[in-house]
């Protein structure tokens, strides 16, 4: 239901309830007021009429008494009694008097006199004279006092009458002489009730006798009802209730209601059977009852008119109310409606729509807030659109990516069959590899061993799996405990590859040496999942190596001994120990000695090479001033540079710190590089040497503007025994071992060595040494100088 309808309905309901309650109350009180009024009206008019009737009757009675008191009446009666005859004179007078009385009141129908014997002795109706009335009530009751004979239908006149009879008495003796009777018709009595209704159409009053017969006409039925129809209503019954009759007879009407507890206003049906409101008054003097009444419908006419007016007003008000409430609710709901319509428009997607409402009330504020909200929705919609576009782009690119991945995956799936074969191949390859391959879990428990492992160690594969590597019952356990600790630290905690020689033993007890490469396999969280150990049996290689070293060593020794002899005898000859030498002799001996020295150098170099190749350079680091070292080398080769008139340029950073390197070895490097520069640069050439610090290193550079290295030889320059083409033609001396040694030394000292060269332009050799220096290693051999 719409809000406007709800508001209207609420208005209407509330208003209707209020009006009904008010209307009901008003109607109730209106009726009460009208009832009071009609009661008063009926009551007092009843009382009025009653007193009229009473007065009328009393007046007639008095008239009767006056008439009866007339002396002519007594005279007339006295005469007739005493004489028994009637004098004509008196008789005429009486008749005259009766006629006069008759003429005084048109209501009087007959005036007559009855003697004490009940005989009509005079009457205005001549036919009645002489008739006997002894049985008549007016004769019987009229002897003592004034008597009203109730309304009756006269048999004589055949009319409805009432009579008043008055006794005529002797003035002296007070004896009854006769009775004066006046017969009245009801015209005057009826006249009292005429026009009684005033403006009311149904208001009427009438008299009834104690037999409930109408004495006066009915408004509705006319004269015919008189003595002809009974009134059997609540009023008539109550009116002649003996209690009420008794009370009223004694006390009149005052306090009747209170005293005997009856309401005189009675609502019941009347003689016609129609609802009426009525009251009644008992008239004790005549023993009649006066009933005044009005139709209830007429009584209710005014309240009902008021009620109907009220209902019309109510309906009119309701109509007005409906219109007003509709307009009012329209006024209230219009902004809400606008808001609702606006919300729908906006809801349908038109975010540019603005709800129009400039009022300052809550709805106005709501509208403004709504507009604000719409703005922010619009804003965020724009942002979302933007983001959606962006993301759509991304999704498209992702989709393409996924598509390509999918293709790849499909290819992979297609290759699964092939891969199965590959896996088989891979397994075969591993199994057939000549190296001993094992895979262990992170605790070193063997999970896999290949055929070579079985072949090399002599242990059955089944014996290995499930056991721990290094187990004494397998091939390991021959190295010091500290070695194994170091190995585990490297692979398990440092998670690095361990490479080293391990002494093992085969199942038959035979010892062998293995070159082991043990790698941790890490998962994505950097946890060790497996270890892969590859071992190669290098016992044979080691033996050959040892024999080679031994051979070179021995050979060197055997070569050195004669060289020593040549050297020493040469020296002795040159020193003149065998007598003074001629110039030629001296020259020849010198040549022999120089050649011998070269031979010694060659032997020393060969010895060094054999040691380097067995990985046995001893590094014995000391804090060393490289600048001083370079100067020592330069002073040693000064003769040679002087001979060739070469310019030496020294550029040494004086702030260089001392670093921990093996001075003897690095001396050899500088000496080799500077000697080469000297040898392979022309007379008058230029040699520069610079030392500078860069980052965490010291860079040494030895440059010359000599012959340079031919491009084709560059790749071979650090190889042993290699000599570049251009210089081997120029200079027959040289072992081809100097650069090889230099590279071996620098690399053993945690440095790098490289060169730049252009043939016939010059060569620059550079090498680095770390500022932190190099650690000592105890094993191996020193170089032979």
């Amino acid at each position: 239901m719409k809000i406007s309808n709800k508001i209207s309905l609420n208005f209407i309901i509330v208003f209707t309830i209020l009006l009904i309650i008010t209307g009901g109350i008003v109607y109730y009180f209106t009726i009460a007021i009208f009832r009071g009024e009609i009661f008063n009206n009926l009551y007092y008019s009843g009382r009025n009429l009653t007193s009229h009737v009473k007065t009328y009757i009393e007046d007639q009675k008095k008239n009767g008494e006056i008439l009866a008191g007339a002396s002519i009446y007594r005279d007339f009666l006295n005469e007739s009694i005493s004489t028994g005859t009637e004098s004509k004179v008196i008789k005429n007078k009486i008749d005259d008097r009766l006629e006069r009385t008759l003429s005084t009141d048109s209501n009087i129908t007959e005036v007559f006199i009855i003697n004490k014997n009940g005989k009509v002795i005079a009457s205005t109706d001549k036919q009645q004279v002489g008739k006997d009335r002894t049985s008549d009530p007016y004769f019987i009751n009229g002897q003592k006092e004034v008597y009203l004979k109730d309304v009756y239908l006269s048999s004589i006149t055949n009319k409805i009458n009432f009579t008043i009879s008055v006794p005529i008495k002797n003035e002296v003796t007070n004896n009854l002489l006769g009775i004066s009777v006046i017969r009245y018709k009801l015209d005057t009595l009826n006249a009292i009730f005429k026009d009684f209704g005033e403006s009311y159409k149904t208001k009427e009053a009438f008299l009834i006798n104690k037999d409930f017969y109408f004495l006066t006409p009915s408004l509705f039925k006319g004269d015919s009802v008189i003595l002809n129809e009974k009134v059997n209503t609540e009023n008539s019954t109550r009116c002649f209730d003996p209690k009420e009759v008794d009370y009223v007879t004694k006390n009149g009407y005052s306090g009747l209601e209170k005293t005997i507890g009856v309401s005189q206003l009675i609502e019941s049906k009347d003689y016609r059977g129609i609802d009426v409101i009525a009251t009644h008054n008992y008239i004790p003097e005549t023993d009649w009852c006066l009933i005044t009444k009005i139709d209830r419908s007429e009584f209710l006419k005014e309240p009902n008119l008021i009620a109907s007016i009220f209902i019309y007003v109510f309906l009119a008000s309701l109509l007005i109310l409906i219109i007003v409430s509709y307009l009012f609710s329209q006024k209230i709901t219009k902004p809400i409606k606008n808001l609702s319509i606006g919300a729908k428009i906006i809801g349908d997607g038109n975010l540019d729509y603005k709800i129009k409402n400039d009022s300052k009330d809550e709805i106005g504020q709501l509208s403004q807030e709504f507009n604000k909200m719409t703005d922010s929705i619009k804003q965020s919609r724009l942002e979302i659109d933007f983001k959606v576009k962006e993301q759509t782009k991304e999704i498209v690119s992702k989709a393409k990516e996924i598509e390509s991945k999918q293709k790849t995956l499909l290819n992979i799936l297609k290759d699964v069959e092939k891969s199965k074969n590959d896996l088989e191949k891979f397994k075969m390859a591993v199994d057939n590899a000549s190296d001993h391959i094992i895979i262990t879990d992170p605790e070193g428990i063997i999970l896999f061993a290949n055929q070579a492992a079985q072949d090399i160690t002599g242990f059955n594969k089944k014996d290995m799996i499930g056991k721990k590597v290094g187990d004494k019952h397998l091939w390991g356990g021959k190295m010091p405990v500290s070695f194994y600790q170091e190995l585990w630290k490297t692979i398990k905690f440092d998670k690095k590859v361990f490479i080293g020689e391990i002494n093992n033993h085969r199942k038959n007890g035979e010892k062998y040496i293995a070159m082991a490469n043990i790698s941790p396999v890490l998962d994505s969280k950097n946890n060790v999942v497996y270890f892969v150990g590859i071992e190669r049996d290098i016992t044979h290689e080691k033996e050959i190596d040892r024999m080679k070293t031994e051979f070179i060593s021995l050979a060197s020794h055997q070569l050195r001994t004669p060289l020593s002899a040549i050297r020493w005898f040469g020296e002795m000859l040159l020193e003149g120990d065998a007598g003074v030498l001629t110039k030629d002799q001296k020259e020849y001996i010198t040549n022999i000695s120089l050649s011998n020295s070269r031979m010694i150098d060659l032997v020393n170099s060969l010895l060094n090479i054999s040691r380097i190749e067995s990985g046995q350079i001893i590094i014995n680091p000391k804090p060393t001033d490289l600048g001083a070292l370079v100067k020592d080398v330069l002073s040693e080769i000064r003769n040679e540079t002087k001979i060739k008139k070469q310019k030496i340029i020294i550029d040494i950073d004086t702030s260089l710190p001392k670093i921990d390197i093996d001075p003897k070895l690095i001396y050899e490097v500088y000496k080799n590089l500077l000697t080469n520069a000297n040898k392979y640069t022309k007379v008058g050439g230029k040699i520069s040497i610079s030392l500078l610090k860069k980052d965490k290193e010291i860079i040494s550079q030895i440059s010359d503007n000599g012959f340079g290295i031919p491009n084709k030889d560059k790749v071979h320059i650090f190889e042993r025994f290699f000599r570049a083409d251009n210089i081997s033609k120029l200079e027959t001396e040289g072992t081809g071992l100097g650069l090889y040694l230099a590279k071996a030394i620098i690399e053993s000292s945690a440095g790098k060595i490289w060169f730049k060269s252009r043939e016939n332009v010059g060569t620059t050799f550079s090498f680095t040494l770390p500022l932190i220096g190099v650690k000592a290693n105890k094993k191996g051999a020193t170089l032979s100088s």
Binding site: H557, T561, A565, W568, N604, R611, A781
Partner: protein
């Protein structure tokens, strides 16, 4: 006159030693192996021994060990003059107790005399 015993199996080298050291004023006795060295030490206590390592019968290391084990010979300074020159050899000799270790091919006899003089004069 300072007495020097030289153990050297190469006759050319021992000849050179003898000529040079005698000229330099030393009393020189030459033996050609370790066995001979140990025998001569029983009757002839030198001021210095010049010892080769690679020798027949009893090698230099064995002889040196015997000398160092004998309290009588223990104080005698020993210079090892060998054509072996590897670190192991040098360390092994030094462990047994020597005054100096020289590689013959790298040595001039004049330098040797200097070293000897420093030790025993």
């Amino acid at each position: 006159m300072k007495k020097i015993i030289i153990a050297e199996d190469d006759k050319f080298l021992s000849s050179a030693y003898r000529l040079k050291l005698a000229k330099a004023g030393f009393d020189v006795q030459i033996v050609s192996d370790g066995q001979e060295l140990l025998e001569i030490l029983e009757k002839y206590i030198p001021d210095l021994i010049l010892l080769d390592l690679v020798m027949p019968v009893v090698d230099g290391f064995t002889a040196l060990k015997s000398i160092r084990l004998n309290p009588k010979f223990k104080p005698i300074p020993v210079i090892v003059a060998s054509n072996l020159g590897q670190k192991e050899d040098i360390d092994k000799a030094k462990e047994l107790g020597i005054s100096d270790f020289v590689v013959k091919s790298d040595l001039s006899l004049d330098m040797l005399i200097e070293k000897i003089n420093k030790l025993i004069s």
